[in-house]
């Protein structure tokens, strides 16, 4: 067997709590994985004046994938986002965010009859970093390329083929001509892949996703729309602390909870590790460890059934208690 090299980046804030919990569960599986710990983020920036450097990128590139916590972004305009740097440098263009209720838990709408995945383009759109800042006006350039749209549409179709063979393309082409390109390319790709498709305007989709999540399966959209819709959809499953994500490129992959570093609750041991643990589970699937991924999922479900949960889910356990219970269960 090939030994997988996994960079472990806790990052800042609750990243330092949820990643150790996820690693404890990972360790319990006893897989041929080499862990490569790496300090990145605000903490490093305070010490070294830089949050990520060339050497870090070399190390990341020497790994097969990354398990990532969360990073605090200071308001300092010279601070370059670590997350965005990594996504870009490692060209991980597909951000996959499953929105699926966990057994026994419901979100703000009380529904649990849905199971959808948001496939977010991860390298362009409003995240181009092409900006022009003057004193009285500032511009950001939204970039939509054929190539970028094509490859994200392919990712969505690939996923759709293992699911209901349909995608919903989310855009704002009634206002943004750049989305006419995105929509057109997504339709072309879906047609040529034999995947059913329909499309929705992003504003209507925000309403519809909250009202009828059961209508959707694979949702594909541009970068910032995916950012907003996936956080919003976390309300459907109950807590931002439950939503995992994968950033996938042709060579690398990067797994992280959708939540941030949550400085307000950091250090208290109350952060929910489930999003991090489910992100680790997505990593196992990406590696081909399907059986182990299923074990992790059942450990998560066990912790909820036993009510060994953090306060956001009504429990009174700590982050590490939850991790420990799941590791023991495995």
């Amino acid at each position: 067997v090939k030994i997988m090299r996994v960079a472990i980046v806790e990052g800042d804030g609750i990243g330092k709590e949820v990643i150790p919990a996820a690693v404890e569960v990972l360790d319990a599986l006893d897989l041929p994985i080499e862990k490569v710990p790496l300090e990145l983020g605000y903490g490093k920036w305070e010490k070294c004046g830089v949050a990520i450097d060339e050497k870090d990128l070399e190390i990341l590139k020497s790994c097969d994938c990354v398990l990532f916590g969360a990073i605090t972004t200071p308001t300092d305009p010279n601070y370059k986002s670590v997350l965005l740097t990594i996504r870009k440098e490692l060209d991980m263009y597909a951000n996959i965010r499953p929105i699926k209720p966990l057994p026994g838990l419901v979100g703000v709408t009380g529904k649990n009859d849905f199971d959808l995945v948001i496939v977010r383009e991860n390298t362009e759109g409003m995240y181009s970093s092409i900006e022009e800042i003057h004193d009285d006006v500032a511009y950001t350039k939204r970039v939509v390329s054929r190539k970028g749209s094509e490859r994200i549409a392919r990712s969505a179709c690939k996923l759709a083929k293992d699911r209901k063979n349909e995608i919903t393309i989310v855009h704002k082409s009634n206002v943004l001509k750049s989305d006419t390109l995105f929509l057109g390319v997504c339709r072309e790709v879906a047609a040529s892949e034999g995947v059913e498709y329909r499309d929705m305007l992003v504003d209507a989709m925000a309403y519809s996703l909250m009202s009828y999540p059961e209508r959707y399966d694979v949702v594909v959209t541009t970068n910032l729309f995916g950012d907003i819709l996936s956080d919003m959809s976390a309300a459907l499953v109950g807590s931002l602390g439950l939503v995992p994500s994968a950033n996938i490129g042709d060579k690398y992959a990067f797994f992280e909870p959708v939540h941030g570093s949550a400085p307000d609750i950091a250090g208290k041991g109350i952060a929910n590790p489930i999003a991090a643990i489910l992100s680790m589970k997505m990593m196992l699937e990406w590696m081909g460890y399907e059986r182990e991924a299923a074990l992790v999922e059942s450990a998560v479900e066990f912790s909820i059934k036993e009510n060994i949960t953090t306060p956001d889910l009504g429990g009174s356990s700590s982050t590490s208690d939850v991790g420990k219970l799941m590791a023991d269960h495995i």
Copy 2:
């Protein structure tokens, strides 16, 4: 008394059903209002090859304000959005969207203990129309100006002073430097107006608004974020058919339901007129007819109490039945 000239634009689709209902309720109040009917939109475009022309704009400008239904946007790239043209030409920079549950109705989350207003910048941001379209790549320029940010921040603060004297500024300044300008200006204005302020990232806000709407009062944001968040928030009050809006400039104002022309249900007489009627109510408030606005609100509440509602609210009445009941009630 001054006679107010109100342009009545039904537009397309269900606009042709909900606006007549709103006008019936308006007529019942017997106010010194001169109605100026105007045909704009897709229907006109099919007939004349243009959805709105110079003469229409002259007529609109000769009025004090507009009561507007909804317009169907064809996919034809030569079609220029009527709504966006009017907002721009009449410089109606503040789009005010109250998100408030109606007595007896709840939305997808079952909550009814909130009452907030989204104040959306209406003239710039992603709606600049500055685009560059090539075969393999397309760009849209997001524009944030100091002047634009200043005046929308002032609108929000003005509103806040009649409410809880606090605003929440929604932005994505961790990615968009253009939002650093927006955020900075909003903070400055709020500080100088003596209004409390805090800020939220748009993704976190989407989650938080769905989870804790009761935490917010006046929410101020840029154009497209306001578009998305207001449609999303319609799920909180139960139906897109319930959310009204006002577009306010220094000279003109323009009142319209947040919903679109809904071609799928048009012509069936099942469209909910409440959003249009509450938009008309916002028009009355803008004109200074506070007492009449309160009457309209009580008529809306009466129709719900009597269960004279359209199918989206579980009733079996038609659009015009609902309008008629409210007119009679008044």
